[in-house]
């Protein structure tokens, strides 16, 4: 932890620690360079990416990409938190540092819709390729919520044009004007979908 403060006085803000974890927050522009230093410098030696997870802090807040690193030279896990803008969820990919980050990033893209710039295989991994929602976002409706909403009675599995469940709550959200985020679907041109966003809107009960 002392090393971290010495080496990164200006970017490592909000240091925090508990019994076996040291936590730092990084701006997304500095992620790749800082992680490269942490991985390659012998005094750090965080050569293993243990986990990479995305967190949604809800509408009006931000996403966060969280990396857990392991080093055999330090007794603690290192947790690196990277805030990502919710309206424009883009962050650099770390697949250039760890090839094994590929599936982590694909999962985060699939579940949260975070676009990792520089990832050469950023496609859906769990959901089908034409699925349009991001199920782990906090504004994604669960069946329980749907029962109380204007979308009651719609079985999303039988109606592919309603698969964008994230926007069912559009009227409830303050970020409605910015959804869908510009360029979120960089790799999936809208022309790929025979039933576009407009037809999905029309098919919903008012």
């Amino acid at each position: 932890m002392r090393l971290l403060v010495e080496r990164f006085p200006d970017i490592a803000r909000d240091l925090w620690t508990d019994e076996d974890t040291v936590e730092v927050q990084l701006p997304r522009d500095a992620v790749v360079e800082t992680l490269r230093t942490l991985r390659d410098e012998p005094e750090f030696g965080f050569y293993m990416l243990a986990d990479a997870a995305a967190v949604d802090y809800g509408i009006g807040h931000h996403f966060e990409v969280v990396y857990h690193l392991y080093s055999d030279r330090h007794p603690a896990w290192l947790r690196v938190r990277v805030p990502v803008d919710r309206a424009n969820p883009r962050t650099p990919s770390v697949t250039s540092l760890w090839t094994g980050a590929m599936f982590h990033e694909r999962e985060m893209y699939d579940m949260m819709g975070i676009v990792f710039e520089g990832n050469r295989d950023l496609r859906r991994i769990y959901m089908s390729p034409d699925y349009r929602s991001f199920p782990q976002r906090k504004d994604f409706l669960l069946p329980d919520d749907a029962a109380d909403s204007s979308a009651a009675g719609v079985n999303p599995l039988e109606r592919p044009e309603t698969w964008d469940l994230t926007t069912f709550s559009r009227e409830l959200t303050s970020s409605a004007a910015t959804y869908p985020p510009p360029d979120t679907q960089v790799d999936v041109p809208a022309e790929a979908y025979p039933h576009g966003q407009e037809s999905a809107d029309k098919s919903r009960p008012a």
Partner: protein
């Protein structure tokens, strides 16, 4: 990818001149049409190519065929894919040149489910993830939640946890060896593996009440103390298990690896074991070796499992020797509302680093519950391992990685 007029509809190919179809498909950015019905390769060339624009650089690389190459689809309902894993294999003759694993057929959204369940219920939801290592699945969230709540499980509970977790590892590794032999063409070892597994699950059923999804861990302890039936079964089992391992070795007795953890990593010579690297529970009080193999091939991964079973038995001996008396469950309120915070818990599951990252916002359910499943991450080395091997080797190599689809798809 060229843009296309949304009004453009691709007519049924039967009604359409083939040249016209090719032109339209090119305009829509789709793959070229299959060869005509009379052609020598009719129906073969485009099997597996997605009928939609290819999205990424890697996907275009995978699904662009060169002269003499074809795609072969394995699964998701292939008997040797260990569940609903689909592998698209690009082959040249009998030789695999590239491979694309496709997941999601078993995706249940357990992370989302857990974010809508109370902390005590989460331990039930994670059981069926990696269904051959349910005890490990419960261990990591139990560790993370105890950090969140700031409570400590009693020492006897920690010993019982280590005991059941090692028992779980023994039968999981035993099954892997059986399945590996099965995929390589030997039917007998899997039968013995299941006989041996049955002894262990009966043992665990004696202590937890369930044979497969144990639901044994609690936040702050374990559900039950060891009982007489468990102890007597453990004694019987322990007397025979070394012999059955020897039998298996007698009955049964090359490739390379990223992001891989667990026995697969150690079989390539890297001594990373969470039990040593970040000792949790009582592992810092026990003696065991981190076994490694040097060659990193299928045989090394098999030997690795055998050696780890022996280490687990060694650990079980020590745990039974050292187990203290005392309670097995800390005092925990029925509905727990931890202070806002974050916690990370990692354990060494039979397949590698299994970790949980939990965020509390002060409510009765976790705000975010993230699980890193080792089989999921290990599977991404398949495209790196396979090129240059034969189609028949695919199954052996995959079985040696020991993926469990319940965990891969979460």
């Amino acid at each position: 990818m060229t843009a296309v007029d949304p009004e453009t509809r691709i007519p049924d190919p039967i009604d359409l001149d083939r040249a016209e179809e090719a032109r339209l498909r090119a305009a829509a950015g789709l793959a070229p049409p299959s060869p005509p019905a009379g052609s020598e390769y009719a129906g073969f060339e485009l099997v597996g190519v997605p009928d939609r624009p290819l999205q990424t650089e890697r996907e275009r690389e995978m699904y662009t065929l060169e002269e003499g190459e074809m795609l072969l689809n394995m699964g998701p309902q292939h008997p040797s894919t260990h569940g609903v894993l689909r592998l698209v294999v690009k082959i040249r003759g009998e030789m695999v040149t590239d491979l694309d694993p496709v997941f999601g057929y078993l995706h249940r959204g357990i992370e989302k489910l857990c974010e809508n369940a109370t902390y005590t219920t989460v331990l039930t939801y994670v059981d069926p993830m990696d269904y051959l290592a349910s005890m490990h699945n419960e261990h990591a969230p139990a560790i993370a939640f105890e950090k969140l709540f700031g409570i400590q499980a009693p020492r006897r509970a920690e010993y019982i946890r280590a005991l059941v977790v090692e028992l779980n590892r023994v039968f999981s590794h035993g099954l892997m060896i059986g399945f590996l032999a099965l995929d390589m063409g030997g039917l007998t070892p899997i039968l013995y593996a299941f006989i041996n597994r049955d002894d262990v699950v009966e043992l665990l059923a004696a202590i937890s009440g369930q044979r497969m999804l144990f639901n044994f861990f609690r936040v702050g302890g374990v559900n039950w103390d060891v009982n007489d039936e468990f102890l007597s079964r453990l004694g019987t089992w322990h007397g025979t298990v070394m012999k059955s391992i020897g039998d298996n070795e007698k009955l049964i007795t090359e490739n390379e690896m990223y992001g891989v953890t667990g026995p697969n990593l150690r079989a390539s010579g890297v001594p990373f074991d969470v039990r040593k690297a970040h000792p949790y529970s009582i592992y810092d009080e026990l003696e065991f070796d981190v076994i490694t193999q040097q060659s990193g091939d299928v045989y090394a991964r098999y030997l690795q499992r055998i050696d780890e079973i022996k280490q687990s038995l060694h650990l079980i001996d020590q745990i039974m020797d050292k187990m203290p008396h005392g309670p097995v469950q800390a005092q925990v309120p029925g509905i727990i509302r931890p202070k806002p915070g974050r916690a990370y818990g990692a354990v060494e599951s039979p397949r590698g680093l299994y970790s949980v990252y939990a965020i509390s916002d002060g409510g009765p359910t976790p705000y975010r519950f993230r699980m890193r499943d080792p089989s999921f991450i290990s599977l991404q080395v398949m495209p790196l391992l396979m090129p240059g091997h034969l189609i028949a080797d695919t199954m052996a190599i995959m079985a040696s990685l020991d993926p469990v689809m319940g965990g891969v798809d979460k």
